[in-house]
């Protein structure tokens, strides 16, 4: 859904008629067979009929024609500007020796001094960066595919009622706060939790899951999967529901097994959505769960559990080194932008649509 909106608005704003026509044609012919592609193309045509019929109208004509729609868009635009773009100006404290009791304006400029921890590789920062990269790698490789697999499983359930029940149960953990999730895990698997108390009362060896730095990555990864995998299936299920049934019938006639259907029909049909979500995931890949990690950090120590977000929090909000924290946060944001643009580029090179169409 988000893709289509992005596509239409991006295309609608494109002032170059030639480019526009190329896009329209490309969609119409290249992707005509695929349901999703076809639909996307149809919408693009709908939003800009001029593209399909001869040269594009002049800017003034288009403005007069769409002025009411544009007016409707103004409040949303203002909200985005006010809450997403104006605060960006605050990043200026990355270049200042800022303290809240002095104010942004009156804090003195210090140039790139605050970036010293990054450029000179302050050990605490490097440790936080390493942990962040490891955790984000695991989150992409292990956590990201789980909702896809889960969605395929749910999709293959025949009983509609059972499917609903399973979905509801899977969605539920998403609505719990991290405090609750961590408390539940602690009560079940903690060193004085249900499991270990049971083992201990039978004089069996206990399992050190909490407070064990070696298990930390496994622990937080399972928590993320438990909490959000169910919720993550929603978009994939929506995409799966739009796969053309005729394709399955056709492949069944050709004698394809279920596994081959999965490989040749289902997965290619939702490939666009998977790529899109993967790119969006890359954008906040360095944000690896601040609350979740903060809640459990003291048990395993900073060596295993300091990530960029907690580093920024302890150094800035608690330690009072606001400038350094802002610098680290800024770099983190820039890395996110580079990753999104890079991944999108790769997607385009591979013939995928990415976050926006080219």
């Amino acid at each position: 859904m988000a893709t289509e909106l992005e596509t239409t608005s991006a295309a609608g704003r494109d002032p170059r008629p030639g480019r526009w026509r190329r896009l329209g044609l490309g969609r119409g012919t290249g992707r005509g067979a695929g349901t999703r592609g076809g639909d996307g193309a149809g919408r693009t045509h709908g939003a800009g009929p001029a593209g399909a019929h001869g040269p594009r109208a002049s800017r003034r004509v288009r403005f007069r024609r769409d002025r009411f729609l544009l007016l409707l868009g103004v409040p949303g635009l203002l909200v985005v500007l006010l809450f997403n773009y104006v605060p960006l100006i605050g990043n200026v404290i990355a270049f200042k020796d800022y303290q809240p009791y002095i104010g942004i304006w009156d804090s003195p400029w210090v140039g790139f001094d605050n970036f010293d921890v990054i450029l000179n590789g302050d050990p605490a920062f490097v440790n936080a960066l390493t942990n962040t990269l490891v955790i984000s790698f695991v989150q992409i490789v292990v956590v990201f595919p789980v909702p896809i697999a889960l969605a395929l499983l749910l999709n293959s359930m025949l009983s509609e009622r059972l499917k609903r029940v399973a979905q509801s149960i899977l969605y539920l953990p998403h609505f719990m706060s991290w405090v609750v999730v961590v408390a539940i895990f602690q009560h079940m698997l903690g060193n004085a939790g249900l499991l270990n108390n049971f083992l201990r009362s039978h004089d069996w060896a206990t399992l050190s899951i909490f407070g064990n730095p070696d298990m930390f990555l496994t622990l937080i990864t399972s928590q993320v999967i438990w909490k959000d995998a169910g919720w993550g299936t929603i978009i994939f299920l929506a995409a799966l529901s739009r796969v053309d049934m005729e394709l399955y019938e056709a492949s069944a006639v050709d004698g394809a097994s279920r596994l081959r259907q999965l490989w040749h029909v289902t997965l290619p049909s939702i490939r666009g959505v998977i790529v899109l979500l993967l790119i969006l995931k890359l954008g906040d890949v360095l944000t690896v769960g601040f609350e979740q990690i903060l809640l459990q950090q003291q048990q395993v120590g900073a060596d295993a559990a300091e990530v960029l977000d907690t580093y920024v929090y302890f150094n800035g909000v608690i330690g009072g080194n606001w400038g350094v924290s802002a610098a680290v946060g800024l770099v983190k944001g820039l890395v996110g932008v580079v990753l999104v643009l890079g991944a999108n580029k790769v997607a385009h090179l591979l013939g995928e649509r990415g976050v926006y169409s080219k």
Binding site: P100, D106, R200, S201, T206, G211, I318, G319
Partner: protein
């Protein structure tokens, strides 16, 4: 050049945050129009402040008088209360927003809380309290200051970064209202002992009201009933016997443990207690004008190593190290046999849970007499006010004055017990809480302002036990050599420095690092500000002697 920039520069000189600025004070004084302020100048400005005159409120006489060494006065029974106020102190004032810490359970909100409603009536305006559990309070406070939307009254804790700048820039200067005899306007603030006031002075002014605490400080409480039940020795004579006692109280199969990790969850409770056996100095020790931090002593390293052994021996609760347990609760239900708590915890634990509370004195590590006792902080925290016009400040001070009414006044009885007949009934001359009182009278007013503590009034046995503990402990009290000396770096970086040391010790006792790692931690502690604090303390000491 704006005034703000000038003051900013002066701030940098004071903290020494920018070496170049400190190195060129003459240049800056030309800019600022005032002489540069070095740390020792800040110290002498603070020394020049006239502290509030101490005028004790002596309308009641205790059964056991206080001693000059710091043993608290004791009461066996409740004196007949007198009304100290004839009208609500804040009648007609705007509601007061208060941010404070919460150590007990959360009270019902004002709408469902008859006690809170009556409190508002008696004060004369609405008190809107934001209560944050103690463990998270430092984070909450730092965030509130960062956000800039301050409440009227806030409790400031010692770990807040840049405390002196935050107080002097964002909080109200109370000097004209409290200095010298001006405090007589607020007789119950004048009743706060002089010891508690020096730490309220920053940048040459009084910026906070103390919540007074007695010198006896933290006590290592034990479940005397559990110790007796198992036939163990409640008074270990050396470390080996202490360890035996801890092992005797641990029963893993039944989820019984000797220790938790303390309120900070980093084992500091036990490290400090073992340190008392070894004679670790209280924060700083001084020899011939040279200062040594407790972290730099061999004894502290030894205490950490011995505590790590105790962790290895399995006498700690399995989730103690790094976790934040509800220790009072676990002490009450027998899961933990020891708990390190402020001296006021004695009554809280003994009143809340049906258990027998004992107190363990640290023996010398190798036996042969008692170990040391660290003198407690003279104030729980700093109650500061948001900047406001003088009239409002006077109202807020009047509120603190009302909240500091001591034992012997009807205001004290209401504050601690609520409304007679609803929240408590008098039985044999002592108030007994009703069920409603148990839930409703939990508004943490004692962390806004309070009267100086006394022992009791409780039954004679409890008061005598508490008194006996203090009489035995006070002769072994060690104070910090830094007491009375002002160090800006200590005030502003204290929280960060404490975190460095505590996190380092935690790594070791959790078994993630060997004891040699402590040397690295101390080096880091020195670099991050420890040496700076030392230099300032030595300079202040040289000036005073």
């Amino acid at each position: 050049m704006s005034d703000m920039r000038i003051s900013r520069r002066r701030f940098l000189e004071v903290t020494g945050g920018l070496a170049a600025v400190v190195a060129a004070p003459s240049l800056l004084s030309a800019c600022g129009g005032e002489g540069g302020t070095s740390p020792s100048d800040a110290a002498s400005a603070n020394n020049a402040v006239r502290l509030p005159t101490y005028t004790p409120w002596d309308q009641v006489s205790p059964d056991l008088p206080a001693t000059p060494e710091g043993v608290m006065a004791g009461f066996y029974s409740y004196p007949t209360p007198v009304d100290a106020f004839s009208s609500p102190p804040l009648a007609g004032a705007e509601p007061v927003e208060i941010l404070t810490s919460l150590l007990g359970p959360l009270p019902p909100a004002a709408g469902d809380n008859a006690y809170w409603q009556e409190l508002n009536t008696r004060v004369g305006t609405d008190l809107n309290l934001t209560m944050t559990p103690q463990a998270d309070y430092p984070n909450k406070l730092a965030t509130v200051f960062a956000g800039g939307d301050l409440p009227d009254i806030m409790l400031i804790n010692t770990t807040l970064a840049n405390r002196s700048d935050v107080l002097t820039r964002l909080c109200a200067d109370l000097t004209e209202f409290l200095s010298g005899d001006a405090v007589n306007e607020y007789p119950f603030l004048a009743n706060i002992p002089a010891d508690s006031w020096p730490n309220m002075v920053y940048g040459g002014g009084i910026y906070a009201v103390p919540i007074p605490r007695a010198v006896v400080g933290t006590i290592f409480f034990s479940r005397a009933d559990l110790i007796a039940e198992r036939g163990l020795n409640p008074e270990p004579a050396d470390f080996a016997e202490f360890r035996e006692l801890a092992e005797g109280l641990t029963d893993a199969a039944n989820n019984r443990w000797a220790f938790g990790g303390g309120d900070t969850g980093n084992g500091k409770n036990v490290i400090t207690f073992v340190g008392n056996m070894l004679g670790v100095p209280n924060a700083w020790k001084e020899e011939g004008g040279a200062f040594t931090s407790e972290h730099e002593t061999e004894e502290r390293k030894e205490a950490i190593a011995r505590t790590a052994e105790l962790v290895q021996a399995g006498v700690f609760h399995p989730d103690a190290i790094g976790g934040k347990l509800q220790e009072r609760e676990l002490f009450g239900n027998g899961t933990l046999a020891f708990r390190s708590d402020g001296y006021a915890g004695w009554d809280i634990l003994a009143d809340t849970y049906p258990v027998e509370v004992g107190a363990v004195q640290a023996p010398k590590f190798d036996g042969g007499g008692p170990g040391v006792v660290r003198a407690g902080a003279t104030s729980f925290g700093y109650t500061a006010f948001k900047k406001a016009d003088p009239e409002r400040i006077q109202q807020l001070l009047a509120l603190c004055n009302w909240l500091a009414a001591p034992l012997g006044t009807s205001e004290f009885m209401f504050r601690k017990f609520g409304i007679e007949g609803t929240h408590y009934t008098m039985e044999n001359g002592a108030p007994v809480r009703t069920a409603q009182g148990d839930t409703e009278v939990k508004v943490p007013l004692e962390y806004v302002a309070d009267s100086p503590h006394v022992l009791g009034p409780r039954d004679r046995a409890r008061v005598d036990a508490q008194r006996a503990y203090q009489e035995a402990a006070i002769p072994n009290i060690v104070r910090s050599a830094a007491e009375g000396l002002y160090s800006d770096a200590s005030v502003n970086k204290g929280g960060q420095l404490t975190k460095i040391a505590d996190d380092g010790a935690l790594e070791i006792i959790a078994g993630r690092q060997p004891i040699e790692y402590w040397d690295t931690v101390v080096d880091n502690w020195r670099r991050q500000g420890g040496d700076e604090v030392r230099a300032e303390l030595e300079a202040a000491f040289a000036e005073a002697h």
